[in-house]
Amino acid sequence: MENPFKKVIEEKELPAYLKEKVLDDINLIKLTLDLSELFFVNVPDSLLTFFKNNPDENDKKL
């Protein structure tokens, strides 16, 4: 007996522009995540390391 579920939804073709939109948005997300990592993780880490490693010089400058 034929399974009617196989026929209830016809296969649709996805428009090609959608792939471009998805990949563009993913690049934007990547850029945002990279920038936030740079400003909120890398820069504070570098500053902390700098001040820890050069306490005397920092004192002199002050």
């Binding site: 579920f5 026929k7 996805l14 428009p15 959608l18 792939k19 939109k21 990949l23 948005d25 997300i29």
Partner: protein
């Protein structure tokens, strides 16, 4: 890396490449593999091509953002299916006009036991597909989804139980109830 990423990679290897290289071309390969599946699944939950396209876009963004959480012991297709299902269900619930018709898939199995007499697939398959289409649009979205998983996508009870993280007995009962609802409307 060469200019042309390897398109023959297994799903697991592809996910590893996406995570390790962050090269968008690898995600492009994943998109090519699953776009049609995601789109057609989405289209089975909504009424228009535009809505299905918006859902497909959002689902792929979600896949990208959650790729780290994918556990490699399961199948990528099953994991993607769970994202598709949850995204579509949330969308439909947010937009539906009759929320009282919806019931939670995870509801207590004990409550179902009184109406779980076995319904054969034969009875279900006797329904004309146009009528079936009409019925599927009238039953709760969770019932429609589980029937499509089982009878359209040929998922096993085990696959469905893993997808929803519920017991196989709960899946069987849910299927029986969904079938009963369809037969009542035929």
């Amino acid at each position: 890396m060469s200019n042309q990423p390897e398109v023959e990679l297994s799903d697991i290897a592809l996910v590893e490449k996406i995570l390790s290289t962050k090269d968008e071309r690898y995600f492009g390969i994943l998109y090519d593999r699953y776009a049609s599946f995601v789109y057609n699944q989405s289209f089975s939950f909504v009424d228009s091509e535009e809505e299905a396209q918006d859902l497909t876009h959002d689902i792929f963004i979600k896949i990208y953002l959650n790729l780290k959480k994918f556990k490699k012991e399961s199948k990528l297709s099953t994991w993607i299916y769970s994202i598709v299902y949850n995204q579509c269900l949330n969308y439909v619930k947010k937009n539906q006009k009759k929320p009282e018709e919806n019931k939670d898939l995870y509801e207590d199995v004990e409550n179902l036991e009184h109406h779980t007499e076995e319904i054969s697939d034969k009875e279900l398959f006797e329904i004309n597909y146009a009528k079936l289409q009409e019925i599927l649009n009238q039953i709760p979205i969770e019932d429609k989804a589980i029937l499509l998983m089982k009878y359209k996508d040929d998922m096993s009870v085990k696959d469905i139980s893993e997808l929803f993280n519920i017991k196989e007995s709960a899946v069987k009962m849910r299927l029986q109830r969904a079938k009963k609802r369809v037969l009542e409307l035929r």
